[in-house]
């Protein structure tokens, strides 16, 4: 068991020892057709702050996590043709939307014959109340889709 010494608040202990954040999954296969958009992760399997929006498919940082450091991951498995996946941050203060992590299979045509795992890790970022984090895909081809049910979008307080 750990020994908790002076200098650590109760909240520090809670933060250090308990998972805080979310894990979201998709309840059905999604068809991609020559476009881009948000991964429709519509199920919050874990959501300690009740902050995951299952309608707009984004994690909206609550006031209780303002200033915390979080890290996000996107794991998926796609048919050949899916080109990019990304974790997107919409920052309320800046009014901007940026990629904070991206994985790209390239634009030269389908480099792989079959479904491939794609994994996207964000850096540790300081989050602010109202920031919205979502998972996006970019697909210049047609007739492509996600397969299986192994796709997750997650974030945790560090």
């Amino acid at each position: 068991m750990p020994i908790i010494l002076e200098g650590a608040s109760k909240q520090d202990v809670v933060d250090a020892w308990g998972f805080r954040g979310f894990v979201a999954s998709a309840s059905s296969t999604q068809a991609f057709n020559n476009s881009s958009g948000v991964f429709e992760f519509d199920t919050a399997d874990v959501d300690t702050e009740s902050a995951y929006d299952t309608v707009n498919f984004e994690y909206v940082v609550p006031a209780s996590l303002n200033g915390e450091r979080m890290q996000f991951q996107l794991n998926t498995r796609a048919s050949a043709g899916l080109r990019h996946i990304a974790v997107i941050r919409k920052n309320q203060g800046l009014g901007s939307q940026i990629d904070i992590a991206r994985m790209d299979l390239g634009d030269q045509g389908s480099p792989f014959a079959g479904p491939d795992g794609m994994h996207c890790f964000s850096p540790a970022v300081v989050v602010a109340t109202g920031d919205a984090f979502s998972a996006r895909w970019f697909n210049p081809g047609t007739g492509n889709w996600l397969t299986d049910s192994i796709h997750t979008f997650s974030g945790r307080v560090l």
Binding site: I4, L5, A8, R69, Q71, G106, D107, F121, P123, V125
Partner: protein, 161 residues
């Protein structure tokens, strides 16, 4: 989870309980980093985003070398690391990009892709990091290229779990 020992003072205990974290990036202002053909290149990340380790007696992250050296005073900790490299539209049609995170020369994770405009990320979790261990991110291509464009796509992060 952090491991706190009797020998640690309160300040150090508080640091560990906050899951100390670092994130460094190659920002747009830093420019891209050249990597030579068929040569493993240690990536550097000159711009700090977060660093809870910098106020220790010896700062853990060396921006000149892009290297994290696990502080002796923290002892062995379980940590996670993540890195991402962005070619910023550079044509990769004739080569591949491989990225690794290594601990004392041992690879923790690898991602490998080719073709144009690659952005790839790599992560490792639940890594036992002993005191004084050296962790870095490195890249390899079969043809000379430059890496780094946006702040967040070219990054190196680590944190105590």
């Amino acid at each position: 989870m952090p491991r706190i020992t009797d020998e640690m003072n309160g300040e150090l205990a508080a640091l560990l309980l906050r899951r100390p974290t670092f994130t460094y990036v190659r920002s747009v202002a830093d420019g891209r980093q050249s990597i030579s053909a068929s040569t493993v290149t240690d990536m550097t990340f000159p711009t700090k985003q977060i660093d809870d380790f910098e106020n220790l007696d010896t700062p853990a992250f060396n921006v000149a070398t892009g290297t994290y050296t696990h502080p002796t005073v923290l002892g062995t900790q379980t940590m996670s690391f993540a890195a991402g490299f962005d070619l910023g539209g550079t044509n990769l049609s004739d080569t591949e990009l491989i990225i690794d995170i290594v601990l004392n020369g041992t690879r923790l994770c690898r991602q490998q892709y080719g073709f144009e405009g690659a952005v790839i990320t790599c992560g490792a979790t639940h890594v036992a990091v002993p005191a004084d261990a050296v962790v870095k991110a490195r890249a390899f291509t079969t043809n000379a290229r430059e890496l780094g464009r946006t702040d967040f796509n070219t990054f190196f992060s680590g944190w105590v779990e």
